[in-house]
Symmetry: C2
Subunit: 465 residues, 2 copies
Amino acid sequence: MGSLVDVDLLTALRAAVGPDHVLVDRDVTESYRRDMMPLAPAGSPAAVVLPATTEEVQDVVRACGAAGVPIVPRGAGSGLSGAANAVDGCVVLALTRMDRIVEIDPDNRVAVVEPGVVNLDLRSAVEKHGLFYPPDPSSYDWCTIGGNLSTNAGGLCCVKYGVTTDSVLGLEVVLADGEVLRTGRRTVKGVAGYDLTRLFVGSEGTLGVITRATLALRPLPQAPATVVASFGSTGAAGVAVSRIVREGMVPSLLEIMDSVCVRAVERHLSTELGDGAGSAALVIGQSDLGRAAGLAEVSRLEQVCLDAGAEFTHHTDDLAEGRLLLAARRAVLPALETLGSWLTDDVCVPRTRIAELIAGCAEIGEEVGLTVAVTGHAGDGNMHPTIVYDASRADEAEAARVAFDRILALGLRLGGTVTGEHGVGKIKQDWLATEIGPVGLRAHRAIKNALDPGGLFNPGSMFRG
Amino acid sequence: MGSLVDVDLLTALRAAVGPDHVLVDRDVTESYRRDMMPLAPAGSPAAVVLPATTEEVQDVVRACGAAGVPIVPRGAGSGLSGAANAVDGCVVLALTRMDRIVEIDPDNRVAVVEPGVVNLDLRSAVEKHGLFYPPDPSSYDWCTIGGNLSTNAGGLCCVKYGVTTDSVLGLEVVLADGEVLRTGRRTVKGVAGYDLTRLFVGSEGTLGVITRATLALRPLPQAPATVVASFGSTGAAGVAVSRIVREGMVPSLLEIMDSVCVRAVERHLSTELGDGAGSAALVIGQSDLGRAAGLAEVSRLEQVCLDAGAEFTHHTDDLAEGRLLLAARRAVLPALETLGSWLTDDVCVPRTRIAELIAGCAEIGEEVGLTVAVTGHAGDGNMHPTIVYDASRADEAEAARVAFDRILALGLRLGGTVTGEHGVGKIKQDWLATEIGPVGLRAHRAIKNALDPGGLFNPGSMFRG
């Protein structure tokens, strides 16, 4: 197929980034159409542009602004909300070539990176200096820091170390008029002006293009000790999580898997989790306080689980064994994939309501006639109910979408939010409107309009214009 | 003197909050004119209004909006940037009557409070549940949570537990049109929409009136162990702080005092700090990891200080002794006050540059012929150079202002920010403009205009309209 892009714009884009870095062949651009959220709509981009520098991003933004062609920024495309999905006729701005770790300053525990750096590459690079970049979304081995910033990504570490925004000191952003905005600072504290840094983090590419980030690093934690507890009911597991929070414990990881996840993983890995008697819920915790203190903390976690009625528990400070236990948690999606397509949801509820959420998801599964498996970050209430369905059947796809929405309604009823870490993107705009209400939506539109009056960046994502 | 306020507006204000809570007597309103920053300009308010509910705030905002009379929100007035200072003819909106702790939810580690709650009252209330609200500005025994939110207040805890914004989950805000905006959530994670919560935190009352806040609480830390180290040079103390950061230690407190502070406190408290030989810099650290782990951590801090050349060190897990050592740090301002008026500045520099900042401040003091004493939060580079002068002498007041500005220029040269925790207010608008540049200023104005198009809230604060 021929090019969909205006000839003048094409010339300007080629001048901006070099002809090799403007892709217009439909066979190629199609692979930049969407992220990993199957239900979100995705249009066909007119072109995919891969800049190498901030100046090139500025030129692209100015060219698209002049042509009135919207820009959808994207990283690796690992997102789960369709925020990086193309709209028809847009320019997809793929930041993957801007992948330099510009600086690591161990003395001030700061790193400066470009948006295309892969999360794992940054983790590995700073680890050599005894430092730690906490945010660890499941896709950490291929997602980019730019995408993490745009979605304010979370991960398993959040229960102790917070989400992406908690590790960002400053940003460089190309605005809709092509100017470069520098937000924040290199110091660990600072209150000079509005917190624009955190306004851009999580804004899903709707306010500007992040071209550089100054990140706060932490000391590398100690090797973790691990505890696993198997419960006969989700209610008992929920009580355990509540008590862990209530008793003031801050483990470095606290995950939960319901019985559907446990059985799927057991089949997939040909192993037994728990005591083999069939676990209704599995809780996995870790402590990174270091040998004696770490063992003491996981022993406390274990005792709380036993007091809450755990039928089987096991703790270890053996690293390999700990990794195996965590591998079971990480195997949930691959295991569910053997059963069909999966559609993973993302709600965050108060930590006291986790058991109710799991029970409610099982009911929703029964109502729509599909399996809903629940796993998630118990320590902060961020659950990922995952619907298993046959994507080739229209009725099951429809039922999956119904279940997806009912889970969000349940999350809100339990005092939660419709997205804990995946974002709104092009799949939850109506749910965002429900959650934040008309005044909230008006404030969002006012800010969008203030920074991007022409609606250049990622139109229709997060909320409708 | 008679009332300065328009009769119709006065009627509306009295209808909104009741006649007893509208103050127009100049003798009374004068006491609401300013906060604790002596150099910031302060106008005369037409009225001071003390609402009791969110609905009353809405009515006041609508009445002032209709009358075109600006509103300056304020709490206790403990601020150090003039952000709460009145402008001529404004309505000062004092939130001190809205002082209810609405809810403490220990199971989810969340508190909901009104803005007039005194920081210490919240600390004490949650402590009864074994919980901890970290932000602890020096004025914690009289400043209000609303003021803390508006300025994104810090304190001694920040090195380990972050600043105010790190403890805020959600806000209720009355906007310029009188509507109530609810930002954020009760859950510990959430990415539904822009991070409006953190946009309002630190916005110094320029975007709306915060009427309620949902705050994240932490487990109450263990009783601290304390270490003090005395150095023969500020350079050696700076090296110690850098190494503490570099070696991945995260003490719960890490403060520094220069020789001027040490001598002033020694005189004021009639005691000897250090070994009596005359300390050039004193570093005080704490660990709240609990008995054995706490002692181990302060011993590590002590060893780093000795390796960096400390001439005298002492550590203790005796609580009373620890409190006495910390009392020396807290006595710096009262001690300096015995020498004259004080004007405290607030810069945050990379932690490797602290020694340079202290040396530079001494030079600036010599240049202007005044004493500049430096103390501050070494663990995060947030320093408070404090200028001692005779406020009754115009030449000294002028010299103090010159020193104040030169310290800010020095902070910027060292890669820092012009305010680490006190804010911009009505004293550093030009410095904010310098730090963030024209694009940053334009973004600030665009956001201000989006949320407060009539310039109703705190006009001229933070940046000029």
